[in-house]
Symmetry: C2
Subunit: 481 residues, 2 copies
């Protein structure tokens, strides 16, 4: 039959892919992080229509090597220091490849016992690693966007007397607007969750943050009181531990006190920084998150696990099950005392994501993970110290972890500085070896350097610093000429 693949052809292709992967990981640092492409250049090299005839795996791998590999933005590059820098580590890649060969759907225990039980076990390992109480139960979603959406749905369903799952939100005089509180530094996924769940962006309160970009608890308390007085229903507070722009830490202990007093669901978004809680010396900033109702932590961010892998830990998982469990007759089974992970979320289909996370934790060990996180923090602190000591640069925010927000404090009014920093970012990223991103911090265009790739060394950070200064010098020369 056309497209038949002999077992030995596949075996050879798998070995070739093994070589390609090992080679790629060895040489990725030689690529420019961002490929010098204009929109449409890749598409122009792809046929308009699917081929009628099949092709051999070797030709397809050739095309991959020619068209795809050089034309991605290299997130696995040691010079990738944008957004949150991440790592698809070797053990994680092995896990993904093996999971694809098993191709199980871990929707029910019965549809894959090992996938279900490994997922529960490895999430409990993670819970212990970050020192959350044993009452928390974890499961794996694709992204923090979904984990947060599920947590908010559980919060919505927990409000007594509403039965949102059954009766919905619309056309009900008995349902006031349901309000979500988060700081003005919270991640956009919190907004998307509120949009998706039918709460509406108008019902997301953006609580001002202080000079350290931490939510102001007093302002939160006032907002809650104001909403209650106006007949609205506070539904959930989202505290962020490690905000996206500056990795600031909301005062979660104070917020937890308030949520307990007010009986409001507390969701903690620790998608990035949660991994740091495996280091005891970094835990003080997390103190209080034990009293959250739900916590999200993404091992695909700073635990060296390939995307996608987001762990949602919920203190009373029955709230999540009450919001989502819906078992159609054709999936009903007689097994008692089993966990069917599809009951805890939107998605019926569930990839075997626990495998890669298990392999990563096994390969590095918790101590190995700690040392890598510490090393990333040390490198960031060193870079921050260079910024602080140089008269032309300034830190834009404290550096609690491995993300540094800084500005080139070139003379002129703020608007002019913003423009120059933007030009500087473009010039740095056009060069190739280093890729940074930006954020608006206190309404100012700010450069961001994050460290999260396992292959990033002090040399790369020094290279970034040299490049930043060289490009800034170049811009000054142009301005003067």
């Amino acid at each position: 039959m056309p497209g038949d693949i002999a077992d030995e052809e596949l075996r050879a292709a798998l070995h070739r892919a093994a070589e390609m992967i090992a080679d790629y990981l060895g040489k990725v640092g030689d690529y420019p992080v961002f490929p010098g492409l204009e929109p449409g250049e890749v598409a122009a090299q792809l046929p308009d229509s699917a081929p009628e005839a099949g092709d051999c795996l070797d030709n397809i791998l050739d095309d991959y090597a020619r068209l795809i590999e050089p034309n991605v933005t290299h997130w696995n590059h040691p010079g990738f220091m944008a957004y949150f820098a991440i790592t698809g580590s070797g053990p994680g890649i092995l896990g993904e490849a093996l999971a694809a060969s098993l191709n199980v759907n871990a929707m029910l225990w019965r549809t894959s016992p090992a996938a279900t039980e490994l997922e529960e076990r490895v999430c409990d390992w993670l819970r212990q690693m970050i020192d959350l109480p044993a009452t928390f139960r974890g499961h794996i979603n694709d992204t923090a966007s979904m984990s947060t959406l599920l947590a908010l749905a559980a919060a919505r369903h927990r409000i007594p007397g509403l039965d949102v799952r059954q009766r919905g939100l619309a056309g009900r005089p008995d349902v006031p607007p349901l309000i979500v509180y988060q700081s003005d530094q919270a991640h956009s996924s919190c907004d998307k969750g509120a949009m998706t769940l039918g709460l509406g962006l108008d019902n997301v309160r953006r609580i001002p943050s202080d000079e350290g970009f931490r939510m102001q608890t007093a302002a939160l308390a006032e907002a809650i009181d104001r909403d209650r007085a106006a007949g609205q229903q506070p539904m959930a507070v989202i505290a962020t531990l490690g905000t996206t722009a500056t990795t600031s830490m909301d005062p979660v202990a104070e917020i937890a006190d308030l949520c307990e007093r007010q009986d409001i669901w507390l969701h903690v978004d620790a998608a990035y920084a949660g991994s740091a809680a495996i280091c005891p010396e970094l835990r003080p900033g997390f103190e209080g998150w034990q009293r959250a109702d739900s916590v999200v932590l993404n091992p695909h961010k700073w635990m060296f696990t390939p995307v996608d892998c987001s762990v949602l830990l919920v203190r009373d998982v029955n709230h999540l099950r009450a919001a989502f469990s819906l078992v159609p007759d054709y999936l009903q089974s007689d097994e008692k005392e089993t966990v069917n992970l599809m009951d805890l979320g939107v998605q019926l289909g569930r990839r075997f994501r626990a495998l890669k996370l298990w392999m990563v934790i096994r390969a590095f060990g918790v101590e190995g993970l700690r040392q890598r996180i510490r090393q990333h923090c040390r490198m960031a602190a060193e870079f921050a110290s260079w910024i602080e000591r140089h008269e032309d640069y300034e830190l834009a925010a404290p550096v609690p972890f491995s993300t540094v927000c800084f500005r080139w404090s070139v003379g002129g009014v703020p608007e002019e500085q913003d423009k120059m920093n933007k030009k500087l970012l473009t010039a740095i990223n056009a060069e190739g070896p280093i890729f940074l991103s930006h954020a608006m911090v206190a309404d100012r265009f700010t450069l961001r350097l994050t460290i999260g790739n396992l292959k990033t060394t002090s040399d790369h950070v020094e290279q970034a610093w040299r490049l930043i200064r060289a490009k800034a010098d170049g811009l000054v020369s142009v301005e003067r000429s």
Copy 2:
């Protein structure tokens, strides 16, 4: 540092994994499809806590081979004929492994040009393959649960004057209940979507299906009229092409007429059967879906792509963008005319799923895919003919594709027959080589045999038929003794 992995150790482990994957695909048919396990048996063999020290990749792969591989339900087994049988094919496994090594996040064009452009191109290939108009734009989600949720969110946002995204559904006298219509055969993910979006299960109308399990359009029209008369707002109709229980096909042309007249969003759930539309002779049942507003098709179901891969095709993608686009400042970029796929859904993080789908289509070619789908349909038709010819068995539904619903028509009242069919299913699945599932069809416990694995041959189907009859005979003997 503890856990350090030398490049050569990783290279060797990748080659070992290549061998393990090739061996697994060769021998998977020797495993019992369902491992003979009680709940907790795998967990009991896993340490309670994560290891402090790292381990070498060889030891981890040993543990994988010992603990994980034998203890999954083998969805990649040629005797897996339950739920919808699927295949994680060789080209798809290669794609997953390579994607994990790149580890890109295709949220923005700029965060991975090749991933974004390949996704758009391969979705357009698929659109042409199934003969949908060029106005449809596709993108890839993890599951049909999410694709359907996104489509319903677009439908919700399209209703004029409501601005649900901004203002939400609660506490608004101007928003009536928003109603979703689907047949009584629709997939549970449609219900979950309505729950999640805040519409409520009470606002999902389950339209009766006819004797062929197809939605009754007249009943749909009446329900819409009734709801409008009661001041409710019809929001979306979900037509299913290939229902989960019997793979019946809703009369989508009639439904499209009605939706056009009534200005209601039409979403087509073709997650399973949509792949069959690549065969011209199987297209008549799909006629009319060209007029849908959105269509979901899962290549991870019947297009030999490893989970997860669900393509959502939307006729006017601006509706989806209007419902979801939300670009935080730190992701704003200056590129014009680029597509940022994160604008089309909930998730910000987007794995490079297009790679595996591209490799599958390339390897088999469209003609190769067609021939495999036809072969699966032929095998199912043959099995159905055996059922029809045997006096002790009966078909429970027509067989339009590769799924056969049947019953052992052993004597007795319906309740007794149901009990015996349930016993028969348990006995078949306990044996090992074949794994079937069930569905309630016309309120009767019904056995389901589906064919979707590339390694399933006529021999496996004959083996299934022999096993069914042998186990039935055994049950009769026990009853008599």
